[in-house]
Each structure stands twice: as C-alpha cells, then as structure tokens.
C-alpha cells in the first residue's frame, strides 16, 4: 500500500513534460493515475520521477473539425461521457467512457492514460484502433502523429513509452456516413474489467437491406498483442451484403486468425478463445441489426 520512493515534477506545459522525460531516464508520465498509482501501491513498478500532466489544460477538451475529432490526452472519462460533440460525432467513445469502471475513476482516469497503459483488458485501445485513431506524441525531437497500429506495441507498452514522449491528443477520423460499430465484452462483474472483448466496425454503402460492407475493422482486446486486428475476419466481411448470416461468416473466419490468448483466474486461454469467437459474432450481429434497422451512426 505504500509506494516505493519517487520524486514528483509538475510541468507547466506538455513541452516541459517531454523535456523532463528526456532528462530523467527513470521518469514516467502521471496522467489520471488510476492505474499507475495502484501499480505503485502494489510495488509493481518503480519510476524515479513522476511527471504529472493531469493538470495541463492544453491536454484537455474535444475539438471537432470536418475531418477529425481531436481528444485531449488528459480528458477524463467523465468529461468524454458528457461531451455533446463527442456524443454527436463518435458516440461509441462517449458511451464507453460513461460505463468505465466507476463514478470516481471516471472523474480522474484519462483516455490517453488508458491507451498508454495498454493493458490487454483496457477498453479504449480496441475501440480506437477500430476507429483508425492516431496519437499525437510530443518528444524532445518534436511532435508527430502515430497511427494506432504503430502506437500499441503490446501489453503495457506503447510507442509513447518507448520514445519517451508525452501523448498530447488523440485524433479520430470523423466516421463516414454508413459507419456502424459495436462492442461486446464478457466482464468479471458489471462495469468491471473484461475477460473477452471484441470491437467490430463496418462501413457500408447503401442502407437497410441494400447495404454492402465496404470496409471492416475487427479488433480484439484481452489477447496477446491487444488490440489485435483480425484481418481474416475483416476480409471475410468486406464486399458482402449486409445480411443476418454475416456473423456466422465472421465467426468462421476467427478460427483462421493467429491469436494467442492468456489465461488467468477468471478464465483459461481456451475459454477466452471461445469467447472471442462468440463476441465477434455477437458484435457483428449487433452491427447488422443496427444497419438493418436503418439506424445510421
């Protein structure tokens, strides 16, 4: 319960934070702290310096342009859940934000913190990966924007940590008309962490029964390498008419994916493999239902 010793630095800007990370090799970024401080209390990690970016206004807020939605790295789940612009443009992100963990954690936990951690059971990485999101990184060498496929590098590791950069914001391309998404998870308890998670995004042309899948993004959480892309499933879906049997196609294609599952006290690897298929199938069903009911994203 008592953290190991570390020092604390409160930068006045993201640039200062980047400098601090560069200056002190053992430094780690403190965002909302809703995982990091627990890891410290459990004596799992021992950074020499915490660089606290949680108070930086420049890392907050949601800004919408024609092309994309920019989300401040330190925007809290509660802020995102309540953000009308986010609800209007990327409703799935707002909805997920509103059911994350609990009331207190939503007031403090940040979207970039969730992503930078990249715990396989984290909510946002598969969702953002399915949305083709990119991450604005600021290091001493300058700022750059990294696509989610290049940002999430494995369990508890991201490009931000490797390059000793601060994430300043997340860019989500505005979903096109005809984008539909669904997320399915099996949770340890209600609003608790997941033991299986699948996110499915289908971009369709046409509507209702005439809809055809023109793009697909299928991502798994709770798996090695999460958020894990399932290209075979995506390939099985693209070009198909939107019909009720789409989910069976997807489920069959999951078997061809090279996914490695982890086991823990809440479920074995084999069980999680089974659940992944079920969750993909159900998420596809959700999307198909959504399309066939004519509801647009």
């Amino acid at each position: 319960m008592i953290p190991p010793p570390f020092r604390y630095f409160r930068p006045a800007s993201a640039a200062e934070a980047a400098l601090a990370l560069d200056d002190e090799p053992g430094a780690a970024v403190l965002g909302g702290g809703q995982t990091l401080i627990n890891a410290l209390k459990l004596d799992l990690v021992s950074p020499s310096l915490l660089v606290d970016v949680s108070g930086l206004d420049e890392l907050r807020g949601v800004r919408v342009t024609d092309a994309e939605v920019w989300i401040g790295a330190a925007a809290t789940y509660a802020e995102l859940a309540a953000d009308p612009e986010l609800q209007a443009t990327v409703p799935w992100l707002a909805a997920t934000s509103g059911r994350l963990v609990d009331r207190q954690v939503r007031n403090r936990g940040t979207i970039a913190g969730n992503c930078c951690l990249n715990d396989p059971s984290s909510n946002f990485p598969p969702l953002l990966a399915a949305l083709d999101a990119s991450f604005d990184l600021l290091g001493v060498g300058g700022s750059r924007t990294v696509h989610s496929d290049d940002f999430f590098l494995g369990t508890l590791i991201t490009e931000a940590a490797l390059s000793r950069s601060v994430v300043t914001g997340i860019r989500v391309p505005r979903p096109r008309t005809g984008t539909h998404m669904a997320e399915r998870a099996v949770l340890v308890g209600a609003d608790s962490w997941a033991i299986a998670r699948a996110v499915v995004r289908l971009d369709v042309d046409g509507s209702g029964a005439d809809a055809v899948v023109v793009g697909a993004r299928v991502r798994l959480g709770c798996v090695f390498g999460a958020p894990l892309a399932l290209p075979a499933v995506e390939a099985a879906l693209v070009g198909r008419a939107v019909t009720a049997d789409l989910s069976s196609l997807a489920a069959e294609a999951v078997a061809g994916e090279d996914a490695e599952f982890m086991g823990d006290i809440h479920g074995s690897a084999e069980y999680r493999r089974h659940l992944a298929t079920v969750q993909v199938k159900r998420a596809v069903d959700d999307v198909v239902d959504d399309i066939l009911e004519g509801a647009d994203a």
Binding site: R10, D23, K41, S48, D136, G142, S143, R144, D150
Partner: protein
C-alpha cells in the same frame, strides 16, 4: 501508416515543434534536477472541509494518508487497488478515490470529506438520516465513502431508480450489508418510494431522546 509531424500540435505546444531548445529547456532541466536531488519534501496546502491545511509530505504520500494524518477519519483504506472506494472524497467538486491521488496533486485544491456532510448544527443531514433509517450500514467502514458517492449521485440529477443507484455505487465495496439497504437509503433520500426496513418501529436520536413511531410497525412483514 507513416508517422507525420503535426504543425498544429507543434504550434500549440512550443511554437517551434521542438521542446528541448533554448534557455526555457535548461530551466526545465534544472527544475527536474532539483526535484530529483533535493530533499523528498513537497509542500501541500489545501482547503479541507472548509479549513486551510498545510503540510510537508514526501512525493509518494497518498492523499488518503495525508487527509487521515490531518485528522480526517472519513477517508479509509480498504484495498490496495482502487477498487473499494472507502477513501472517496470530493476533490474540487468531483468525487475521487483519495488512494489514487497523491497528496501533492491536491495542492491548492478544495477537498470535502464525509466529516463535512453533517448539518451545521452537527445533526445528520437527510442522506445520513436516510442511511440510519434504512439500516444502510453495519460495521461503518465503507460508510463515509458510500455517503460521498451517494451524495454525488443525488446531486447529479440522474434518475433516482434502482439500477442507476446500483451503478452509481459500483465503485464502493461493502462487505456487510449486501448493499440492499444502501440502495434503499439512497433512493429514499432521493425521494423514491422504497420498501421499509423489516419491522420498522421506533426511532432513537443520538442524544437518547426517542420518537416513538411504533404505531406504524409493519406487523405483516414479520410473520
């Protein structure tokens, strides 16, 4: 996808896209060095339950411990992992788990703990009274955190119905009550109709005076 440098980001951050240049950079590095090599003591000043409190703490001191060391018994520690919510306090108007906040992060903040919930005359506020009326506490260890969360929920304007209440309380673990009476107490405090405690009879106030309401004892319920 190729990594791209974003002029937008660069402009917002440093004006020149690089953070390490110039005297400003040296100043930051000097401050980092100072943080690393100076004594591990940071000053914290916060308003706690309406009073200014000042302290000197090591960087790693958790807010919950700082508040407790400052004499506040409301926030409690029940887990190591941010699950139990016994340490819930209000930090600048928002409830947080004070075991997942560093004391130094609360510098300059306005904090309210459960000790601040009572009426000005020291009596129970309506939510506290409802907890008492509905037997929503047993050992009392989770109670301060529960009250902070319940108060936040009731102030939010969300519908006072069973499922929203249960969801709101999700971040607070109670190992005694099974939550049923807590849910009822919160709903009752929010004006919803709920089942009365089994055999509800009299009421005793803390000072020992008794409001005898035994006329409305629910004799149906007990057999």
């Amino acid at each position: 996808m190729t990594d791209t440098v974003s002029p937008d980001m660069a402009n917002r951050d440093t004006g020149d896209g690089t953070a390490s240049q110039g005297t400003a950079g040296n100043d930051v590095r000097a401050r980092v060095r100072a943080a690393m090599t100076g004594p591990d003591v940071v000053a914290v000043t916060a308003r706690v339950d309406g009073r200014q409190i000042e302290g000197q703490v090591p960087a790693r001191r958790l807010l919950v411990h700082w508040l407790r060391d400052s004499g506040r018994r409301g926030p409690k520690v029940g887990c190591d992992s941010g699950n139990c919510g016994a340490c819930t306090v209000q930090l600048d108007g928002r409830i947080v788990k004070s075991c997942m906040v560093l004391a130094v992060q609360a510098d300059g903040a306005d904090i309210r703990t459960a000790a601040d919930l009572t009426e000005e005359d020291g009596g129970l506020n309506p939510l506290q009274q409802s907890f008492k009326d509905f037997h929503a506490l047993q050992c009392g260890y989770c109670t301060s955190g529960m009250l902070m969360t319940a108060a936040d929920f009731l102030a939010s304007g969300e519908p006072v119905e069973e499922q929203p209440v249960r969801r709101a309380l999700k971040g607070n673990i109670c190992r005694c009550t099974g939550y049923e009476n807590i849910v009822r107490a919160v709903m009752a405090a929010g004006g919803a109709a709920v089942v009365q405690p089994h055999g509800r009879g009299a009421r005793i106030d803390a000072d020992g005076t008794v409001a005898d309401t035994r006329s409305d004892v629910d004799t149906e319920g007990s057999h």
